[in-house]
Symmetry: C2
Subunit: 331 residues, 2 copies
């Protein structure tokens, strides 16, 4: 066999290994800064069998290329971006997700959340889940405590779970989790014998619920990776304002993932991950009558913070209508 | 110290650890699908000391968010993207750069290249460098060979290096590298005793150059990672058409990184990394007079391919003018 026919044989063998019918692809030859976007879209859309994937890639390529054109990205900047993305991937482990952190700090998570979890007027608004929810929390009874003594300043939370018409929702499952008074979630400690500063409970017949907790405090997001470096380069800080995570679900209603933020927190107007919503800012009352503290089941005779907060859940129909509105409005 | 004052102390201590003056940041509270883009831009631009960084992040956030809005990205699709980016980062090693491959296959590399390496009319056009250039190639004399006998079909290349006015450029440094007849670069073999199918030479006084090589063949880009999966999901193949890499540099002229593609190649109209440019497609002549093959220094009496190709280099001034035009035109 001559070298020429061997090369041909090899070429045919290669072509046979992939199952793309070349005749189905557009004939694209001249790539330039002018033509490349149309060329990439043409080849991405020509033989892709999934309609939704086509929509996503078309928009992705259009915007990605428009960004590069708009700033006339240099080779050095491009390489910086490649290295940043590579380091971000390398930083990810089973317990650290640097790309989610990147999405959070660039507001993408909040945007995706705002589009997909929009609520109708009157319903409690949603916000980002965050990375600290766990499946192993213990059940507490109404009035029970999710935090051991000594974990922080006392906080008593109560309210009702209702539908948008004001009817009580009994037996709603309420999950709550938060930092302790040091700004750390239980899973962030090296030793974690049992779930702490987290728990779940059920609303009563009249929709009411109540539990004891601690006042959460602000804390920094993980800042020893590329995302931390990016925020520093932008002159941004790495803190989240204090917040109390809440997740409420009941049959016939959309699951609500939300959190309460605290009025007066120094980071409330510059949350590193853009989770704060005005309707979710609360102002607990300081109860200085220590007899009330004891009566609510706390161990020490000292003041406690008191938060009264209702939840209003939306039905799937109400949620779908709200999401449709948002999708129309933001486009 | 009461628990309340301890929490306050802790909060102040945290605030003191980062050096961002909170009063310099805009007061942002309400995050929603409507407000998030303005909010992220406001906080990114408020305290960033680098003007270019501001321009880049503003455009990045605008386009990234516009993409998410335009397709109403779902939570599941967002998570698919997070996982894809994470896997892409994990696939990167010292000898494998999956993010560059992603950039290549989405046309971003060609776009960045087209903006930054635009050439004036009449000059040889540039194309992507690719990952296979090495620093250790041997020098060959004009007419010498960059490929050992048996590495593929014979190819003889000659031409001249000139400026845009047609004046010869003597002593230009010409680097060239290519696959062998099996579609592999030397660095892709497990054993690599010496550089193979690569070399450098200098143009003569009249700008002329010539060298012996082999006819390169098409080959697949690395397709066992997330980028390969993406291309399959899009119904695209993973092949590059055959090409001969060339890099030409001379004092007083812009360095030219380019490649020649071969007319009739099955992948020339669907290059997986969008490197082909019409002006870089060549059609070597098949020389069947085997006496000529011997005369040109090849070992075996068989036909050889003959490529006559000049290079026209641009001065930095000509290049700058061309780049300015492209930047204006594509925006």
């Amino acid at each position: 066999m001559s070298r020429a026919s061997e090369a041909t044989r090899k070429m045919n063998e290669l072509a046979a290994q992939h199952d793309v019918d070349l005749s189905k692809l557009p004939r694209i030859i001249d790539q330039s800064a002018d033509s490349i976007t149309n060329n990439v879209n043409a080849i991405n859309l020509a033989n892709c069998s999934d309609e939704r994937r086509k929509v996503i890639f078309k928009s992705l390529i259009d915007h990605l290329h428009a960004f590069v054109r708009e700033v006339s990205l240099t080779n050095e900047e491009w390489m910086t971006a490649i290295q940043f993305l590579t380091e971000t991937g390398k930083k990810c482990t089973d317990i650290r997700q640097e790309f989610i952190l990147l999405s959070d700090t660039l507001g993408v998570s909040t945007l995706v959340d705002g589009i997909n979890n929009a609520k109708p007027p009157g319903a409690t608004e949603a916000t980002v889940l965050g990375p600290f929810f766990t499946q192993d929390a213990h059940e507490v009874q109404n009035g029970g405590s999710i935090a051991s003594e000594g974990k922080g300043d006392y906080l008593f939370v109560e309210g009702r779970v209702m539908d948008t018409k004001g009817n009580p929702i009994p037996n709603a499952l309420i999950n709550t989790w938060e930092t302790d008074g040091h700004g750390s979630y239980d899973v962030q400690y090296e030793v974690r014998d049992a779930p702490e500063c987290r728990g779940y409970l059920r609303s009563a017949e009249d929709g009411s619920y109540s539990f004891r907790a601690v006042v959460p405090v602000p804390y920094p997001i993980p800042s020893d990776g590329p995302v931390g470096k990016m925020l520093t380069a932008l002159g941004r800080h790495v803190y989240r304002p204090a917040h109390l995570h809440m997740m409420v679900e009941a049959p016939g209603f959309e699951k609500l993932t939300t959190a309460f933020y605290f009025d007066g927190d120094p980071y409330i107007t510059s949350d590193a991950v853009f989770g704060v919503r005005t309707s979710l800012i609360v102002k607990p009352e300081l109860i200085t009558d220590v007899a009330k503290t004891k009566a609510r089941g706390f161990g020490e005779e000292k003041p406690h913070a008191y938060l009264k907060q209702d939840f209003v859940l939306a039905t799937p129909e109400e949620g779908a209508a709200a999401r449709k509105k948002v999708a129309q409005r933001v486009n």
